[in-house]
């Protein structure tokens, strides 16, 4: 199955710019999110959360007038819900059981301590405010230096230090190439901690249906089937007794694909209550208790030959993973992924790395669009620019010289990833043209010395594993090796098609793109295909929507189901038309033969109402299909981004003058949707690069926990993005599709940091920490001007 299987005659099939079916309900205010649900007798939940980063709980005092059943603590919950432990098969990994409500200790500001139920949210907050939690504060482990110090406070008392796990590798002979290198640079980079910020916060509603005996949990989650499994396991019930529904969701971006304490706590308590309960996360809670992202530190040493050939790379990677390891991703997800992504799209044979995932008294780290890739991309791409600069090579040319070439495909990277297809250097050439490299270089040179701004051009390139199968997740040590998706396609008695899938679309437009896949086979208007998702009772099992996997995996499953159902419909058509099914085809919602045609409506009615009219065809007009890729190493989406910035020398402010991307996500199913994913990802990457930072004070108190002090990109911060597409179908996937969800967010920090550094070359200042706030850039400029040799002193061995 590949691109050759697609049918160019289909107006609404693969590649069509089909308008999104999701739009109409949202444009009229008729979406239905968890907070919009109404149930008779519904009560609302608020949580009492830790206000201290680290402390020992001495006691919890509940007001005497609190109604019975209105307050639940960790002690109440312990007998009815097991704590969640994200295990890993990585050698030396230390598990950190995550209590749903804290017992004994609190380990970050925002950790839930007690759950409070009242008839309205405001009243639940009233009662929560009257619960007194007596906590003996303990010193907190906050940053890398503090957490790794000999006498560091221990986040988990029974550990010898604050390290979840250390991983390392040494491939080739870095020391030998270091000796021969024409240039060696060493740099340190920091990508600070940020929040994920789907605009809809999390929300959970749980009801024990007394009639069916089923626990029904609505949750704003990217992974309904996984949540259902974990609720069943931790509550000690059978999965069939639990139904999880994810209704409309206001984004997720990774922060809604872990199993959360609140989901388990509400489920466990609802089992014991005669009324439904709901918790809607408020913005403060979202900023401190939804999983956070990045918080990486890198020390990179790279060696290159005089012609720019990248000879070897050494990487020391630190990830501040926070207080707990989240299920199923674990606290080492960022570190191990980062180590694998540092080699980037480059031909590299000598690579040495070490990663340490550090436990601290910060909110647990979880997935966020791109996961570790934005950090890894920043580290390698900034380093590549420093090598290029030292050798007097243009940065785009440096990339082209070192990239894996089309003739090298499939290429096994030094980190053992199998790059499947594409022309990486061509993406650099095209993005250079798209941004107008030469014209900007000229403009840059035309800025007079006396001007108070400078212009810079920067590039960021990456290749990104998407839609990987079980072996990849197993290699990361996960207990759940994700890699299968189910789809069920049914033709009803009126000839309509209903597709049910295990993924959860939450902004990606899968109700449209999966209908396009059905349309590709059946030639029906996608608007006539109902796509059901996000309900474990109505959909076949699936792992969920994350890791840029849904179009490949659920698309593959949908295509498989559609192909099988199509075979049957053709056989029915053959009987009804008296023709050879092999000679029939689908057109405009009908089976068409040489002598006549039968619409799906007529066909379905005949077959389902009067099966005796259709002898020789077995019963049933629906198919379930489970997709698992034959090749599990993933389809590699790649891109090159180019940014042009203006840096205000007086303030350190960075503004984007231009931004371009050329990407290859294989066969594009819907250009409108793919462009939307790219632009939206870039906007988030701009946030990472320039604006977003969760600041913690030295004691571990988060300082930017509202939208008043956590800055998000707005319409004025995102320029109009120029997008160029290349389409190299993946040999491993249905239609040659590759994942497109995350890529946009990966390269902006690298491209913008390179552009800022390019702008400031004359001053010797570098942008090596995100977000590149005015104070950081201006201070870097001051420091560089104060001691021109500092650059060399700080970075060691430029030669």
């Amino acid at each position: 199955m590949n691109a050759a299987g697609s049918n160019p005659a289909r107006r609404n099939g693969i590649g069509a710019r089909t308008p999104r079916r999701e739009d109409a309900r949202h444009l009229s205010g008729r979406g239905r999110f968890v907070a919009d649900m109404k149930l008779p007798g519904l009560r609302e939940v608020a949580f009492v959360r830790s206000q201290v980063p680290h402390g020992r709980i001495r006691g919890i005092t509940v007001p005497a007038d609190a109604e019975p059943g209105s307050v639940w603590t960790g002690t109440d919950l312990a007998p009815i819900a097991e704590p969640l432990t994200a295990t890993s098969t990585l050698e030396g990994f230390r598990a950190a059981p995550l209590p749903h409500l804290a017992v004994e200790k609190v380990r970050y500001v925002g950790e839930p301590i007690a759950m409070v139920i009242a008839s309205a949210r405001a009243e639940a907050e009233d009662l929560a405010a009257r619960i007194i939690v007596d906590i003996e504060p303990l010193p907190a482990a906050v940053d890398f230096t503090g957490a790794l110090a000999q006498d560091a406070p221990l986040v988990h008392d029974d550990w010898p230090d604050n390290v979840y796990a250390t991983t390392s590798g040494d491939i080739g002979d870095v020391d030998a190439v270091a000796h021969d290198a024409a240039v060696t640079v060493t740099r340190e980079y920091t990508m600070n901690r940020q929040a994920v910020v789907p605009l809809e916060t999390r929300g959970v509603m749980a009801q024990h249906d007394q009639t069916s005996g089923q626990l029904v949990v609505h949750s704003s989650t990217q992974t309904p089937h996984m949540i259902r499994d974990m609720i069943a396991i931790l509550l000690g019930v059978e999965a069939r007794q639990v139904r999880v529904i994810a209704p409309d969701m206001g984004g997720g971006f990774g922060t809604k694909c872990s199993v959360y304490p609140e989901e388990i706590a509400l489920a466990a308590v609802a089992m014991r209550l005669p009324y439904p309960i709901r918790w809607v996360e408020d913005r403060w809670e979202a900023m401190v208790s939804s999983t956070q992202a990045r918080d990486h530190h890198y020390r990179i040493t790279a060696h290159a030959a005089a012609d720019g050939t990248l000879l070897g790379v050494e990487a020391d990677i630190l990830v501040n993973a926070g207080a707990y390891s989240v299920h199923p991703w674990t606290a080492t997800m960022d570190a191990t992924m980062s180590a694998a992504m540092i080699p980037g799209p480059y031909r590299l044979s000598n690579y040495r790395f070490r990663t340490r995932s550090v436990a601290t008294n910060k909110t647990p780290l979880g997935p966020y669009r791109g996961v570790a890739r934005p950090g890894a991309c920043l580290a390698i791409e900034r380093t590549l620019d420093e090598l290029a600069h030292a050798l007097g090579i243009e940065p785009n040319e440096m990339r082209i010289r070192n990239m894996v070439r089309p003739e090298d495909m499939p290429y096994t990277s030094v980190a053992k990833k199998v790059y499947d297809s594409g022309d990486y250097p061509e993406a650099v050439r095209r993005v250079s043209a798209l941004i107008g490299h030469d014209a900007w270089r000229k403009q840059q040179q035309d800025v007079s010395d006396g001007a108070r701004h400078r212009i810079g051009i920067g590039y960021g390139s990456f290749t990104e594993q998407t839609a990987h199968g079980c072996i990849e997740w197993a290699s990361r040590g996960l207990a759940i090796t994700i890699g299968t998706e189910g789809a069920r396609l049914e033709m009803d008695s009126s000839g309509g098609l209903t597709l049910s899938v295990g993924i959860k679309s939450h902004g990606q437009g899968a109700e449209t793109t999966l209908a396009q896949v059905v349309s590709e086979v059946f030639d029906v208007d996608p608007a006539l295909v109902t796509v059901v998702h996000g309900d474990t009772a109505l959909t076949p099992r699936g792992d969920g929507t994350f890791a840029s996997r849904s179009m490949v995996m659920a698309g593959g499953a949908t295509y498989g189901a559609a192909q099988q159902l199509a075979g049957k419909v053709l056989r029915i058509g053959g009987v009804l038309l008296g023709e050879d099914p092999k000679k029939l085809r689908f057109k405009d919602g009908a089976v068409v033969g040489r002598t006549g045609s039968v619409t799906y409506r007529e066909l379905a009615k005949e077959f389902l109402f009067t099966p005796d009219h259709v002898p020789g065809v077995e019963a049933g007009l629906e198919v379930s299909f489970y997709y698992r890729p034959d090749t599990q190493t993933g389809a590699f989406t790649y891109a090159s981004h180019a940014a042009v910035v203006s840096v205000d020398l007086d303030t350190g402010a960075v503004s984007l003058l231009d931004y371009a991307v050329v990407e290859d996500c294989g066969t594009v199913v819907n250009p409108l949707i793919v462009d939307g994913q790219i632009t939206g990802g870039i906007a988030q990457g701009i946030g990472t690069a320039l604006l977003e930072e969760l600041v913690y004070d030295p004691d571990g108190q988060p300082k930017s926990t509202s939208f008043l002090d956590y800055l998000l990109p707005g319409a004025t911060e995102v320029p109009m993005i120029k997008i160029g597409h290349m389409q190299t179908p993946s040999p491993h996937t249905v239609f040659g599709v590759k994942g497109a969800g995350e890529g946009g967010a990966i390269a902006p920090p690298a491209a913008i940091a390179n552009a800022v550094t390019d702008a400031l070359r004359a001053f010797g200042a570098e942008a090596n920490e995100t977000p590149m706030t005015p104070v950081r850039i201006w201070t870097a400029l001051q420091d560089a001007q104060a001691s021109p040799v500092r650059g060399a002193a700080m970075t060691g061995t430029d030669r």
Binding site: E125, D126, D650, L691, Q782
Partner: protein, 290 residues
């Protein structure tokens, strides 16, 4: 994130409001547009037992124009200044300042009186009204008093208003003939509170050097008049001082010790210098009153 309980009062006149404030003075807040107070109440950082909503008091929306200036009712919204639905006696400065406040939806409800009562020096009105020499009218059961804005603003969230006093109006003197102004707001994003905010007025007095006044917001807990900067400008009739020339006098005005300052503080001082410089460059360039 819902407000704590409070008792709600909705007087129809200023006198009624003053009576309520007197009666409830132990734990009461006045609300008009609510654009500063409600975020705090939603986050339960403010939990007044009583709320006196003055948005239904017609007197608070009145504007009185005289030869000397204008008295704007305290509940005049930023939007009304922005679109000059009230006369702009500061030759366009009031309109210009209002346009920078928050977003349109905020400006439609937020009021000048509320902003002054909130006393956040990184907001527009405290600095602009200080620079213009405006006066706050405060009413209580004891009667009305007038407080120059510069004496009214005492610190962050702190004013000279007594617990039972209500701002009824702000009087702004007409900008003197021959005066040109320049304003610059430095913020990370449009609509954000300022990192720095400067208002410059240059008045041609007929003397060889025009009279220059420079006010700065967001540097201290109240707007500052920059005397040292003004003195430095007096020596430079063309006002061609660069940020680097301004940081010395600015540091003296702010009371910053540049030797011991942290990188953040050094950058803050630099931003103020740049902001003052840009306000100076903007003098006479913004659109005038309609």
């Amino acid at each position: 994130m819902k407000p704590a309980n409070f008792a709600y009062h909705r007087p129809g006149t200023c006198t009624e409001a003053a009576d309520l404030l007197y009666r409830l003075r132990d734990d009461v807040k006045v609300i008009a547009g609510g654009q500063s107070l409600l975020p705090l109440m939603n986050m339960r950082l403010a939990e007044p037992a009583h709320l006196v909503d003055v948005s239904a008091v017609p007197e608070l929306r009145r504007t009185d124009l005289t030869a000397e200036g204008a008295t704007y009712g305290a509940a005049t919204t930023h939007m009304m200044f922005e679109h000059q639905l009230v006369p702009d006696v500061a030759d366009g400065l009031l309109s210009h300042a209002a346009r920078g406040i928050g977003y349109r939806a905020i400006r439609n409800r937020g009021t000048v009186g509320g902003s002054l009562a909130h006393s956040d020096s990184s907001a527009e009105w405290p600095t602009v009204m200080s620079a213009l020499g405006a006066t706050v009218h405060a009413l209580s059961v004891r009667g009305e008093r007038r407080i120059p804005v510069t004496e009214f603003l005492l610190g962050f969230f702190s004013t000279a208003l007594a617990d039972d006093e209500l701002i009824t109006a702000v009087s702004v003197p007409r900008i003197a003939p021959g005066t040109q102004w320049g304003m610059y707001k430095m913020a990370r994003k449009p609509g954000e509170f300022a990192d720095s905010l400067a208002v410059v007025q240059v008045r041609d007095t007929g003397a060889s050097t025009p009279a220059v006044s420079v006010w700065l917001g967001a540097a201290k807990d109240v707007p500052l008049r920059l005397k040292h900067v003004e003195k430095a400008l007096a020596d430079r009739p063309d006002r061609s001082l660069l940020p680097a020339d301004l940081s010395g006098p600015l540091a003296a005005d702010i009371g910053a010790d540049t030797a011991t300052a942290s990188p953040h503080d050094r950058h803050a001082l630099q931003l103020h210098a740049v902001t003052v410089h840009r306000a100076l460059m903007a003098v006479g360039k913004a659109p005038h009153a309609a």
